[in-house]
């Protein structure tokens, strides 16, 4: 019997809400099959199972928010019989209690950060004791059950609000905080928070080095234009797909940039799963992965890229796509940016930035010509690789883009 837990969809995720089960108890499931939809700070994600088996018990009701690592289902082997007596049973009972307890389940998992078990809070509310003097950095939250319910509905962060209001929170404060929140742009608040956490960690932990090179894109774009001319509009290949394919090929030649920094060592990944930075129309940005891009030719890369953008914007990504990136490619060329200095997503060890393709003077022999030129940059983790590795990569990328017919 195996326990399926609330997955971590990225290092920055603390909890998720189970929206819908895609399977029933007793269903056979195959590795990679979507078994549930979970809402996280990255939107609704289709969660895949990692093994074959039979769904034994679904331990969590749709609508429940639980911390990463909470058992949500048990999966038995095909030939294993259902066990009536299971040790995870108490967990599910506890969940019901948690749901009743003014939906404070998220707090319980965060005890280390916020010493506020549910019982204590309830007591504080009914107890008209004078203000408790608090140790610096920690706030005791005084909040009415009605205000807490409102905060849950409106998605107001009570910890942050308590810090502002010196711990006393009523429905009025919650509503005011919610109104403030609505004014902010740049994606949902939690997505902003998740990005901020990952990027702060990156800048604090990763000694970045940056390299940049100018690439003559005229041969690649001319070749692509020729190809696209022969194709119907639905089969056209975007320059972005061509550059992704080129980056993947270059990574095959310089694999040290494709992987993770873990336990003080570089672990390269055989699969190349480039996370592609994709903006969502409502604001915010995700970097879902093109899984196993090393196995795709240019057409397949374009197809997968098309599919990935469509699903990112409609909010239907899979758990593996959101958590298994081995490197990130940021292409800000559409916005007219010339050069991208990226911040690496830990635990990855590199980020490739691609700027705008623009007309620029280019020396050919002893003559000056105008060519389509793109600035490619590499942000590398200096613990994992040296500038030399990064330089080899950019050189390889350049060479590959000069022979587009080999893509």
């Amino acid at each position: 019997m195996n326990i399926f837990k609330m997955p971590s969809l990225g290092a920055d995720m603390e909890e998720g809400t189970l929206m819908e089960w895609k399977v029933k108890e007793g269903d056979s499931v195959k590795k990679g099959e979507v078994i549930a939809e979970v809402e996280s700070n990255k939107g609704v994600i289709e969660v895949e199972i990692f093994e074959d088996g039979v769904v034994d018990k679904l331990l969590v009701e749709p609508g429940t928010t639980c911390a990463v690592g909470t058992p949500i289902a048990s999966i038995r082997k095909e030939n294993e019989t259902s066990e009536p007596q299971k040790k995870e049973q108490p967990v599910s009972t506890e969940k019901t209690v948690e749901k009743k307890a003014a939906k404070t389940n998220k707090k319980i998992e965060k005890e280390t950060k916020q010493p506020l078990p549910a019982e204590k809070e309830t007591k504080t509310v009914s107890d008209p004791a004078p203000e408790v003097s608090e140790s610096p950095g920690s706030h005791k939250i005084k909040i009415s059950p009605a205000a807490r319910k409102k905060a849950q509905e409106l998605g107001v962060d009570l910890d942050a609000l308590a810090a502002k209001t010196k711990g006393k929170i009523g429905t009025a404060e919650v509503e005011a905080a919610s109104a403030d929140k609505v004014k902010k742009r740049g994606g949902s608040d939690s997505m902003r928070k998740a990005i901020s956490a990952a990027m702060s960690r990156s800048n604090a932990e990763i000694p970045h080095y940056y390299l940049s090179t100018s690439i003559n894109m005229t041969p690649a774009l001319d070749w692509l234009a020729e190809q696209n001319e022969k194709r119907s509009i639905k089969e056209r290949i975007l320059p972005a797909a061509l550059t992704i394919r080129a980056v993947v090929k270059a990574l095959q030649a310089v694999p040290e940039l494709n992987g993770f920094w873990q336990e003080d060592g570089l672990q390269t990944s055989e699969a190349i799963n480039p996370g592609v930075a994709i903006a969502r129309r409502e604001g915010g940005l995700l970097t879902p992965a093109l899984l196993n891009a090393q196995e795709m030719n240019l057409d397949e890369t374009m197809k997968a890229f098309h599919d990935l953008i469509t699903r990112t914007r409609s909010g239907k990504l899979r758990s593996s796509e959101i958590s298994e990136q081995t490197i990130v490619i940021t292409n800000l060329g559409d916005l007219g940016v010339e050069r991208v200095y990226g911040v690496i997503y830990p635990p990855q060890v590199a980020l490739v930035g691609l700027g705008r393709i623009m007309d620029a003077p280019w020396v050919i022999g002893d003559a000056l010509a105008v060519r389509k030129v793109m600035q490619a940059t590499l942000a590398g983790d200096h613990r994992a690789t040296d500038g030399r590795t990064g330089a080899l990569f950019l050189d390889k990328l350049n060479q590959i883009l000069q022979k587009p017919e080999e893509l």
Partner: protein
């Protein structure tokens, strides 16, 4: 189809692709991609949808002729007749 009808179709597809602009007036003479934050991917989707609706396929070589709402309307009007 009149120019006004073509323009209405184009605007309809722009709203599909960039729903946050739904109901807004789309500027006639500004670069569609830049003023509405439509990237190359969504721009291709826009042209694909218009191809389905109006039966005109815009080759890449003609992209400079469909950069604004006004130009795009003229382009489709010219190629539909």
């Amino acid at each position: 189809m009149t120019n006004e009808e073509i323009k209405a179709k184009i605007i309809g597809q722009i709203y599909e692709i960039a729903p946050e602009h739904e109901g807004e007036k789309i500027p006639e003479d500004e670069n569609i991609q830049r003023s509405l934050e439509i990237d190359s991917f969504d721009f291709l989707n826009l042209l694909t949808a218009l191809n389905d609706e109006l039966g005109v396929e815009v080759p890449e070589a003609d992209y400079s002729e469909v950069d604004t709402l006004e130009h795009m309307t003229d382009y489709f009007a010219k190629h539909m007749s």
